[in-house]
């Protein structure tokens, strides 16, 4: 074996090991977090967690029922804001935009995506909370909704672009107008990609904490309507984790586990939706 061959083999082995180790580390990180959450959170997860309100300080047996419902309410409002705007904006970019305007819209969308979530929170605080003079679920939902828009726009646009031109031409050739083609052929064909994008967006936004600190704030009781402060899982995790009570810490872990479970379910669900999707290959 010549020196060159030996060197080549050596480099191969080193690189393989290095890349393998990095991959392993990545996977380990996820499993480490999962493991911690399941271990600590699982211990505190019980029926009381899901149905009880937070107990008075120091007492045990409290739960996060209102936070779970609160997260749900905010996600609902966020979807009502983020999904239509994101969807229709994505449709415009993919189907109707002129070159300059589309470029501008895409660029600003990406910038909006990059705005730190705490800045979003301050923004919502200034625009909604201060005029209303109190924290509210409405403000929290709006902040999350605006955060959803850029991702929804981009995933919708990409899903629509993935629909082959020849399908659109088929519809146009039958006498469909541009909008009818988009609504009746292109969007149904892209629907799986769009739904996946929305599910992943929801999963991401469900865990955002910073904007909620200034908008939805917190509420240890049931919050009704949209004008009252409302509790959410991420904010509860924050509050409990830095508090002094063991019971609180346990509940924070449990909440973390619930949140992560939500994200995992959304991701796996999204993959499931995609894998059952119709491909455009034929024969």
């Amino acid at each position: 074996m010549t020196l060159r061959t030996r060197w080549r083999k050596f480099v191969n082995v080193v690189m393989l090991s290095l890349t393998g180790l990095c991959a392993l580390f990545t996977v380990s990180a996820l499993f480490f977090i999962l493991g911690y959450l399941i271990w600590y959170g699982g211990k505190s997860l019980n029926w009381a967690f899901f149905v009880n309100l937070p107990a008075p300080v120091g007492e045990s047996g409290g739960g996060m029922a209102n936070a779970i419902v609160g997260s749900g309410k905010l996600l609902l409002l966020a979807s009502l804001v983020g999904v239509p705007i994101g969807l229709l904006g994505g449709v415009y970019l993919a189907e109707f935009g002129g070159r300059t305007f589309s470029f501008l819209v895409r660029y600003t969308t990406d910038l909006l995506n990059g705005v730190p979530s705490i800045v979003m929170g301050i923004f919502a605080y200034t625009i909604i909370v201060i005029p209303m003079q109190h924290f509210s679920a409405f403000a929290g939902g709006m902040a999350l909704g605006v955060m959803m828009i850029p991702i929804a726009v981009r995933t919708t646009e990409e899903s629509l672009r993935a629909v082959p031109l020849i399908l659109r031409e088929g519809a146009l050739a039958l006498g469909a107008s541009k909008w009818k083609t988009v609504a009746t052929v292109v969007m149904p064909a892209a629907m799986r990609g769009i739904v996946t994008g929305i599910m992943l967006t929801l999963a991401r936004v469900a865990g955002e904490t910073a904007p909620l600190l200034f908008t939805a704030f917190s509420n240890h009781f049931w919050s009704s309507g949209w004008n009252q402060p409302i509790d959410t899982l991420p904010v509860m995790i924050y509050t409990y984790a830095v508090g002094p009570y063991d019971d609180w810490h346990r509940q924070a872990w449990a909440a973390g586990l619930v949140l992560l479970a939500l994200v995992l379910v959304a991701n796996i669900g999204a993959r499931f939706v995609v894998s059952r999707g119709i491909s455009f290959r034929r024969v």
Partner: protein, 272 residues
């Protein structure tokens, strides 16, 4: 009827204001048609008549402009931003560039090179054209779907699977489905852009046969790179080369006694 080549086809009648009656045996006519993609000219002064109730084939080597020309007939070039025709194209005497494009496309249908059924069921594919035109009562739809499938020689093969996905059938069947879909809106003209190029010989033969049977109900213009297909199936043939129409005549004349040397060279395989 003697067909003229592009140089001789400039209309001697002017359209507006003259009472030249539109002959019944001609469905569409192009005259002095130029076509540009941005600054580049793709078609030069095309002039031909599409005879009613006949199959007209357009042949020529790759890139000669035959598909470009076909796509002008139903204004599909409009999906390309910088595409621009100049000249005259008439459908039953009406200028297609001033007709409502949706209306035009209902009267002039198109079948594409690769089968492109929508990701819906077979039934919904065929009913699509009817739906968007507002024809929609359930019983009418079912009848219309059956009629189209019969015309496309596909009914017997799919009558029990109408609600299955259109992708569950073979390529040849999908192409016949696309023909049925185009026929459902009862077009006066059917444009076919190399409809058999993606299919095997048996599927091709089935489609050629059904096209022959469609002559009673619509006029057809078919672009094909397969000369034998043109010779077999078409009544009239036009030979395109480098954006020009070199010769246009009855198929028998083009293939047996072509008037131009370029045509003869192409037919005998000396190039292209």
């Amino acid at each position: 009827m003697v067909m003229k080549t592009s140089e001789e086809s400039r209309p001697t009648e002017r359209a507006a204001g003259t009472a030249t009656p539109w002959p019944a045996d001609i469905k569409m006519r192009a005259a002095g048609l130029d076509f540009y993609y941005g600054g580049k000219q793709a078609l030069h002064s095309i002039g031909l008549h599409v005879p009613t109730g006949r199959i007209t084939a357009l042949i020529g080597p790759s890139g000669c402009g035959k598909t470009t020309f076909l796509r002008i007939l139903n204004r599909m070039y409009e999906t390309v931003p910088q595409a621009r025709p100049e000249g005259e194209v008439l459908l039953d005497g009406e200028d297609i560039f001033s007709l409502d494009v949706v209306n035009l496309r209902r009267r002039v249908g198109m079948v594409f090179q690769k089968p492109n059924p929508f990701p819906k069921s077979i039934f919904e594919n065929i009913a699509y054209g009817l739906h968007i035109n507002g024809i929609g009562s359930k019983s009418t739809l079912a009848e219309a779907v059956e009629k189209s499938l019969r015309r496309a020689a596909l009914w017997e093969e799919v009558k029990d699977q109408l609600h299955k996905s259109a992708y569950a059938i073979s390529g040849g069947q999908q192409q016949r489905l696309c023909i049925a879909r185009a026929l459902a809106v009862e077009p006066e003209v059917l444009l076919l852009d190399e409809p058999c190029s993606a299919l095997d010989p048996i599927a091709t033969a089935k489609i050629e046969e059904l096209l022959f049977n469609l002559k009673d109900i619509c006029t057809m213009v078919i672009v094909t790179h397969n000369m034998q297909q043109a010779a077999r199936a078409a009544d009239y043939t036009g030979f395109f080369l480098m954006g020009r129409l070199i010769e246009f005549n009855k198929t028998a004349v083009i293939f047996k006694t072509p008037a131009r040397k370029e045509t003869e060279d192409y037919i005998t395989g000396r190039f292209g």
